[in-house]
C-alpha cells in the first residue's frame, strides 16, 4: 500500500474511533519504515482535528470524542518506542499537569480533557481526582510542566482553583506555569477574576486553549 493511502486510512480510523485499525496501521507504518513523525502529523493528527471539528458542529458527543482519543493514544503507543530511538526529529508539544481539585471526586470531565490533550500530542500528567493543591505545583516543578489544569465540578470546590492561584502567588511562582481552569460551574469570568490564564468550556476547546497559550509562551521564550 502506498504511503498516502496509509495516511488517509489513519485519519479515517481516528475519525471513526477504530482503535484496532489505528493500531494496525501504526504497525504497518513501522514495518514499512515510514517516518513516525510524518505518520503522526499527516496521518493521525488530521484525524483528531477533524474529530474536534465534528464535536464543535454538534455531530460528535462525548462517546465519539473518547473513542477517537483512545484510538489515537493506542496508535501513539505503538509509534512511541520508535520515536524515542531519537533518530527522527521530534518536538514535544508541551507538558501538562492536570487534576480535579481537593474535595471533589468527579473526574470524567477531567479525564476527557486529559485524553484529548494527550491525543493531540501533549505530554499529560494526570493526578486524578481530589488532589491536594500543593501536589499540582510540586508535580509541575518536577516534570517542568508548561501548563497546570485544575478541574472543579462543584460550586463548593471551585474555590480550590482560586486558592491554588493564591498559593502560587505566595510562593512567587505566578507566571511560572500557565494555569487553566474548567468544570461545569466554572466560567470565563471566574477564570478571569481569580487570575487564571485561561478557561475552556469543553475538551476540544481546552486543546485549542493550550495550543494558544503555548504559542504565546514560546513567542517570548527565554532560554
Amino acid at each position: 500500500m502506498d504511503k498516502e493511502r496509509i495516511l488517509a486510512l489513519m485519519t479515517q480510523a481516528i475519525i471513526e474511533g477504530d482503535q484496532t485499525e489505528a493500531v494496525r496501521l501504526a504497525q504497518e507504518a513501522l514495518s514499512l519504515r515510514l517516518d513516525p513523525t510524518e505518520v503522526i502529523e499527516r496521518g493521525y493528527v488530521p484525524g483528531i482535528q477533524k474529530v474536534g471539528e465534528l464535536w464543535e458542529k454538534g455531530d460528535y458527543f462525548l462517546p465519539e470524542l473518547i473513542t477517537s482519543a483512545e484510538a489515537m493514544k493506542a496508535a501513539m503507543a505503538v509509534l512511541d518506542p520508535e520515536l524515542k530511538r531519537g533518530i527522527y526529529a521530534t518536538k514535544s508539544m508541551g507538558k501538562i499537569v492536570i487534576g480535579t481539585v481537593e474535595g471533589d471526586i468527579h473526574d470524567i470531565g477531567k479525564n476527557i480533557v486529559a485524553s484529548m490533550l494527550q491525543a493531540s500530542g501533549f505530554e499529560v500528567y494526570d493526578l486524578g481526582a481530589d488532589v491536594k493543591l500543593e501536589k499540582f505545583w510540586q508535580k509541575a516543578e518536577e516534570v517542568q510542566a508548561d501548563v497546570i489544569g485544575l478541574s472543579a465540578l462543584l460550586t463548593t470546590t471551585m474555590v480550590g482553583q482560586k486558592r491554588f492561584l493564591e498559593m502560587l502567588a505566595e510562593r512567587q511562582l505566578t507566571g511560572r506555569f500557565k494555569v487553566i481552569v474548567g468544570g461545569a460551574p466554572v466560567t470565563a469570568e471566574w477564570a478571569q477574576r481569580i487570575g487564571a490564564d485561561g478557561y475552556a468550556e469543553n475538551a476540544v476547546a481546552a486543546v485549542r486553549l493550550v495550543k494558544e497559550l503555548l504559542s504565546q509562551k514560546t513567542g517570548r521564550k527565554t532560554p
Binding site: 458542529k57 458527543f61 462517546p63 465519539e64 471526586i105 470524567i108 463548593t156 470546590t157
Partner: protein, 585 residues
C-alpha cells in the same frame, strides 16, 4: 454604588457596581424565575431595561432575543451585570408565582400510634393533711412519677388548685406534658407533616388522634432566591455564618407562613400544634437547623448529623406550641437524606420482598436496590434536565408545560398541564419526545439530530436544540449508570427485578414504555412499574402518626449500604456507553 429602580412600584435597590442583576433582585425579595441556576440557559428571567447603563448582550441573550423576538432592551437578569444606575421592569412571566403542580402522596394505612397522646382524667383533690405539689398530683394521676413539664406549662396551672378538676393533658412519649387544659374545652391535637423540598415546601396538618388529614398548604421554598439547587445553597451558606443564618431564616419563615395559613384554615391556635415531622434531604435538614453545610458537598461528604433526638419547636423558631417536638427523618448519607429514608418507610420498602428498585427522580436521582437481603443505595448527579432545568425549552412541571408527546398524522401531538398554551417541556414530555424522535429516526442513538440540524420545532416557536438533547443524554446516562452499578453490586440482572418504584416529580403521566425506550429505566414488564408520587410527604405523615416507625426506620437504615459512584472504577466506562439513547439490553 449604583441604584436599580424596579418599575412600576418596585423597590429602589442600592448595589455594588458589577453586581449580578438576578442576584440583586432575588436578594430584594423579588421571586425571579431562575430555573437554570443563573446559567443563562432557560431564558426565564427576562427583564426589560427601561433606561440606564446597558452593555452589549451576551451571546446567550442574543440567542433568546432572536428566538423569542425580544426587543434589544430585553435581557436575561442572570447574565446582566449592573454597571450604573438602571430602571428596569420585570414581566409577570419572569416571576415564580406559579406553583409547581403537586403530585399526590402515597396513601397507606398504618396503625396510629402517635408520640403525642391525649389523656383525660380527673385530678384528685388536694389532701389537706399531706399537701402535694400540683406536678406531683399530675404525675400520680398519670402514673408517671418522672413526668416533666416545662416552666411555661407550670406557670399556667393555677386553675388546677380547685377541688376535683377534669383535666386533659397532651403528653409526649409519656414523659413530658406539652399542654394542659380543662377537659370540657375543645382542644384538638394537631401534628404537621412536612415535605422539606429544595424547590417546594408541602405542609400537611393531621389530627394526631384519628390520623385524618385536616389541611394542606404548598409554597415555593423561599431559599430559592439563594439558588435553585442544593449546591448553590451550600455555596451561599459556606460564605459565612451570616449567610447560613439567612438561609435558615428564609426556610423557617417559609414554614411559618404555611403554618399561619393552616391555622387560619383550621381555625386552631398555634398552641394546638404539638408535633412537627419533617422529611428533607440532608442539606435542607442542616439548613433548617442552621448547621454548617460546607462538608456536605465535599469529599468525604460528612454530615453534621444523621439522626437527632427530637428538638423543641421554640429552638428552631417554628410558630407552633413552643413545647412542640420537632422530628427530622434521619439522613442516611450526605446525598441520601431524610426524604428518601422516610419515603422508603412510607412505601414499606424495607420490608418488601426483593429484588426491586426504588428511584426518586430529581436533580439528584437517588436509587435504592434491594436484593434477596441487602439494600444498596446511591445518588446520581442527574442534573435538572428532567425537571425542566438546563434546557433551552425546559419548564418545571407547571401550567403550560408539555407533559406528553406523541406522533400523530400531522406531526407531534402534545398535551400540556392544565391544557394551557405550551410554554416549555417538562421531564415526562422530554422523555416522550426523545422516544418519539428515536422511533421516527429523527435523532440517532448517539443523540445527533438527523439531517445535521441544530434544533427542531416541537410546536411553533418552541424548539428542542441539539444541546438540549445532550443535556438529556447526560441525565439519562447518570441514572442508568447508577442503576446498573447498584444491580451489579448485588449480582442482579435487570430482569430479576420484581418491581420498580418511581417517586418524585414524575407522576402517572410518565410513560413507562418511553422511559424504557430511551434507557432511563430497565426493561421490565410495565405492570411491574409503580408510581408512588410524593413519598417524602407520605413518609413524614407516617412518622408523625406512628412513633414506633421512627425506631424501626433507624434500625432499618443501619442496614442500607451506600455506594459512591464516583469511586466505582467502572463508572466512566458505563457512563460513556450509556450516553447512547436506547433500551437496556
Amino acid at each position: 454604588m449604583a441604584r436599580v429602580k424596579v418599575e412600576p412600584a418596585g423597590p429602589i435597590i442600592e448595589v455594588r457596581m458589577g453586581s449580578n442583576l438576578a442576584r440583586v433582585l432575588e436578594e430584594a425579595g423579588i421571586p425571579l424565575a431562575t430555573w437554570c441556576g443563573h446559567r443563562g440557559i432557560c431564558g426565564r428571567c427576562e427583564v426589560e431595561i427601561v433606561s440606564g447603563a446597558i452593555s452589549r448582550p451576551k451571546p446567550k441573550e442574543a440567542f433568546f432575543q432572536q428566538r423569542r423576538g425580544w426587543p434589544s432592551s430585553h435581557r436575561l437578569a442572570c447574565l446582566f451585570s449592573v454597571e450604573g444606575d438602571l430602571v428596569i421592569r420585570v414581566p409577570e412571566s419572569s416571576l415564580m408565582t406559579e406553583m409547581p403542580v403537586l403530585k399526590a402522596a402515597l396513601e397507606i394505612k398504618h396503625p396510629i400510634e402517635p408520640a403525642v397522646k391525649r389523656y383525660v382524667f380527673s385530678l384528685p383533690p388536694i389532701n389537706l393533711k399531706k399537701p402535694e405539689s400540683t406536678l406531683g398530683r399530675l404525675q400520680k394521676a398519670l402514673h408517671q412519677p418522672r413526668l416533666k413539664a416545662s416552666l411555661r406549662v407550670l406557670s399556667n396551672i393555677g386553675w388546677l388548685k380547685q377541688d376535683r378538676v377534669e383535666v386533659q393533658a397532651a403528653v409526649y412519649e409519656d414523659e413530658e406534658i406539652l399542654a394542659l387544659s380543662p377537659a370540657a374545652l375543645p382542644y384538638p391535637i394537631v401534628g404537621l407533616a412536612v415535605d422539606l423540598g429544595t424547590t417546594t415546601l408541602v405542609l400537611e396538618a393531621l389530627d394526631l388522634e384519628d390520623g385524618r388529614i385536616l389541611a394542606k398548604e404548598v409554597a415555593i421554598n423561599p431559599q430559592h432566591r439563594f439558588g435553585a439547587d442544593v449546591l448553590s445553597r451550600i455555596a451561599h451558606a459556606s460564605l459565612g455564618k451570616k449567610q447560613r443564618k439567612e438561609l435558615q431564616a428564609a426556610l423557617v419563615e417559609g414554614l411559618n407562613q404555611l403554618i399561619k395559613k393552616i391555622m387560619a384554615q383550621l381555625k386552631v391556635d398555634s398552641e394546638n400544634i404539638l408535633e412537627v415531622v419533617l422529611a428533607g434531604n440532608s442539606t435542607m435538614n442542616h439548613l433548617l437547623l442552621g448547621l454548617p453545610v460546607d462538608s456536605l458537598a465535599q469529599s468525604p461528604f460528612a454530615t453534621v448529623f444523621s439522626s437527632l433526638p427530637p428538638l423543641r419547636a421554640e429552638d428552631i423558631g417554628l410558630k407552633v406550641n413552643p413545647a412542640a417536638k420537632v422530628y427530622l427523618a434521619p439522613n442516611l448519607r450526605s446525598f441520601i437524606g431524610g426524604d428518601i429514608s422516610a419515603g422508603l418507610m412510607a412505601a414499606n420498602l424495607f420490608e418488601a420482598e426483593g429484588p426491586f428498585a426504588f428511584i426518586d427522580l430529581g436533580t439528584n436521582g437517588e436509587i435504592v436496590v434491594k436484593g434477596e437481603k441487602r439494600l444498596v443505595a446511591t445518588s446520581t448527579a442527574a442534573g435538572p434536565a428532567f425537571e425542566g432545568g438546563n434546557l433551552s425549552c425546559g419548564l418545571p412541571a407547571s401550567s403550560g408545560a408539555i407533559e406528553r408527546v406523541d406522533w400523530g398524522e400531522n406531526g407531534f401531538k402534545i398535551k400540556t398541564i392544565n391544557d394551557a398554551e405550551p410554554r416549555g417541556i417538562c421531564g415526562s414530555g422530554l422523555i416522550d419526545l426523545l422516544s418519539v424522535l428515536l422511533r421516527k429516526g429523527m435523532i440517532f442513538a448517539n443523540g445527533r439530530l438527523a439531517m445535521a440540524k441544530e434544533k427542531m420545532a416541537v410546536v411553533p416557536g418552541l424548539f428542542l436544540t441539539q444541546e438540549d438533547i445532550r443535556q438529556a443524554q447526560l441525565a439519562c446516562a447518570a441514572i442508568k449508570t447508577g442503576f446498573q452499578l447498584l444491580l451489579a453490586s448485588l449480582h442482579l440482572q435487570p430482569q430479576d427485578l420484581r418491581a420498580i418504584y418511581i417517586a418524585g416529580a414524575f407522576g402517572q403521566e410518565l410513560s413507562v414504555a418511553n422511559s424504557q425506550a430511551i434507557g432511563l429505566i430497565p426493561r421490565v414488564s410495565p405492570e411491574r412499574v409503580f408510581f408512588l408520587g410524593n413519598t417524602s410527604l407520605a413518609g413524614a405523615r407516617l412518622l408523625l402518626l406512628n412513633r414506633l416507625a421512627r425506631q424501626r426506620l433507624l434500625s432499618r437504615l443501619e442496614r442500607v449500604e451506600y455506594v459512591s459512584l464516583a469511586l466505582e472504577k467502572q463508572f466512566q466506562n458505563y457512563f460513556l456507553e450509556n450516553l447512547k439513547l436506547g433500551p437496556w439490553p
